[in-house]
């Protein structure tokens, strides 16, 4: 799983899609809904969302794992939630800024 910045992924088990904004410091597995994500143009295996990873992905929100440093942007809503090597990613709260340009 080459989680380079700008790479696009989708959940194998729900409708969620995401983009890697910052790569992890070392290799690992990005999951959604408890299953490894697949490349956006790949084929989703299907299956069900693991209730332990069912918090949901929201479009436009960013999710981070402090241990690995990975940061992921939600680009399509889905029921599953994101994880890295089994650790749940946390929602990154951002204060809205006024437009400056």
């Amino acid at each position: 799983m080459d989680l380079k910045p700008g790479s696009r992924w989708k959940s194998a088990v729900c409708s969620a899609e995401c983009v890697v904004v910052r790569p992890p410091k070392s290799a690992g597995v990005l999951g959604c809904g408890g299953a490894p994500v697949v490349a956006l143009d790949g084929t989703a295996s299907g299956g069900t969302v693991d209730p332990a990873f069912a918090g949901g992905v929201l479009i436009g929100k960013r999710y981070v794992d402090e241990t690995s440093g990975i940061e992921v942007l939600g680009t399509k809503h889905g029921q599953g939630s994101l994880s890295f090597d089994g650790r749940a990613l946390a929602l990154k709260e951002a204060k809205p800024l006024p437009a400056s340009d």
């Binding site: 910045p5 700008g6 696009r8 983009v19 904004v21 479009i59 436009g60 960013r62 942007l73 680009t75 399509k76 951002a94 204060k95 809205p96 800024l97 006024p98 437009a99 400056s100 340009d101």
Partner: protein, 489 residues
């Protein structure tokens, strides 16, 4: 991450949202991919544009991105000779030039020239580019080059996408939000406005070239909610709105930057447009646009304040953006100064490029020296005093022109002014003031005003009165022109 991904994400999520004029996000992406197909060829190293604002600008910006080529918009206001010198430096390139400007461009080895009309015709028949290409460099912008030959600032995809992801929420704009873009496309704000608006889901309306009357008319006709102006434009816009009898009712947010905002102008604007939130944004080409901003609430608080420390923040550029660190350093370039002390503004962050073609000038820890003088108050508000090159050194004392100009502008007889250093046998430099007077003004009264507000060593010793000060089209005062003109006197 490539800047085209910003468009891809937005267009996938809401394809029918209007992006630029009547083009939707999906249509904008299709157009950009046709532009990429029409432009890409083995002997094109970058896509260069010379022309006014319009939908062609985002099409070329994103088209260049899809094709894996840098986009380089040129300053069409330069004299022909300088413009052609820049064109020659872009080879190997495809130059897309506005039809009405094409006659100004000579023949340059390695530069293929296409008129906009011919390029748009080629786009009509081109397939959508379906390859995938990447380039580290997204945009090349030539600096204004007031000191020698213009330098090509390099903005990498990583710089620009960091800026957008740190400051804009995906498609978070209200459905009716419309941004009026009147800054030229060769200015960093013209580039960042495209990326912010597309990713944030705010429709762009272009003013092909700025005039205050057209600006006011376009705001009213297009129901513009957001706009950015340079300080010299704001005063003229307020005049034009008053003449047209418009209170600009659709406008919600007005940001300004690119130069010092005179207090009487912002005070007038806040009084005339109480429904508008004002944002002061500070940034440089080399920092991918804004690095600090003073928001609407801070404006209102400062404007209403009687405490001088709070009131003073109306002159501040606010606080650093997320992902940005700012330090004020002393003359050695190393020591970090305490709150309230003036030094040079240093900045660090992923959006900071600090790079010109062939030359990276950030230090080994990633800090970029802005060449702007400034200070930070105890609450972290940044005050920018102007270019360090413009500081007047009089008898060993460093004097910032900005402070004296602010003080002069507060005098009712002063419509506009500039303070410059002039050669002086006794002090090395002496302070000269160039004043555009409103009604009658005499230098004795103005000198007394400065002496009372500041101190005698900051009181100009040479006074000149003129009809108009020289600004460039992005609102920068051309101090060097004034220095040259008045140095003999």
């Amino acid at each position: 991450m490539q800047t085209t991904l910003l468009l891809d994400i937005a267009a996938d999520a809401d394809p029918d949202l209007r992006a630029v004029g009547d083009w939707t996000l999906a249509e904008m992406r299709a157009q950009a991919k046709r532009a990429a197909a029409a432009a890409a060829s083995d002997n094109v190293g970058q896509i260069v544009y010379c022309g006014l604002n319009g939908a062609i600008v985002p099409q070329l910006l994103f088209g260049a991105g899809y094709a894996g080529l840098p986009f380089c918009p040129l300053n069409y206001r330069l004299p022909d000779e300088q413009l052609n010198a820049l064109v020659a430096r872009t080879a190997p390139a495809l130059l897309v030039v506005a039809d009405e400007m094409a006659a100004r461009i000579g023949v340059h080895e390695g530069v293929t020239v296409m008129h906009v009309s011919a390029f748009e015709a080629a786009m009509c028949t081109a397939p959508e580019f379906d390859g995938y290409a990447e380039n580290d460099t997204a945009v090349l912008l030539f600096t204004s080059g007031t000191t020698g030959a213009p330098k090509a600032a390099v903005l990498r995809h990583e710089n620009l996408t960091s800026y957008i992801l740190n400051t804009v929420d995906l498609l978070a704009a209200e459905a009716d939000e419309t941004a009026l873009v009147s800054v030229p496309n060769y200015h960093i704000a013209g580039i960042s406005a495209i990326l912010s608006s597309v990713y944030g889901g705010r429709r762009i309306v272009y003013l092909s070239a700025f005039s205050p009357e057209d600006w006011v008319r376009t705001v009213d006709v297009e129901r513009v909610t957001h706009a950015m102006l340079v300080p010299t434009m704001l005063d003229r816009v307020l005049d034009a709105a008053a003449n047209a009898g418009s209170s600009l009712p659709s406008l919600r947010a007005l940001s300004y930057g690119g130069g010092r905002m005179p207090e009487p102008v912002i005070a007038r604007a806040m009084t005339a447009l109480p429904h508008v939130g004002f944002v002061n944004a500070y940034g440089l080409t080399e920092t991918s646009s804004t690095i600090a901003l003073l928001g609407a609430e801070d404006h209102r608080t400062a404007f209403a304040a009687t405490n001088p420390a709070v009131r003073r923040r109306l002159h501040s550029v606010g606080k650093p953006l997320p992902g940005i660190e700012i330090e004020i350093r002393g003359a050695d370039g190393k020591s970090v100064l305490a709150a309230g002390e003036s030094g040079e503004v240093y900045v660090r962050g992923a959006q900071v490029s600090g790079e010109y073609l062939g030359k990276k000038i950030t230090d080994d820890k990633g800090w970029f020296a802005t060449n702007d003088g400034g200070s930070m108050d105890a609450e972290g508000y940044l005050f920018v005093e102007g270019r360090l090159d413009d500081v007047i050194v009089r008898g060993g004392e460093n004097i910032s022109p900005g402070e004296i100009e602010d003080c002069l502008r507060a005098h009712p007889a002063v419509a506009d002014c500039a303070v410059i250093g002039l050669p002086c046998a006794q002090w090395g430099e002496k302070i000269g003031a160039v004043v555009v007077a409103r009604g009658g003004a005499d230098e004795g009264a103005l000198a007394a005003h400065i002496r009372a507000a500041l101190r005698s060593t900051k009181t100009p010793e040479a006074w000149f009165f003129t009809e108009e000060l020289p600004y460039n089209e992005t609102g920068k005062l051309l101090r060097r022109d004034l220095k040259k003109l008045y140095s003999g006197g």
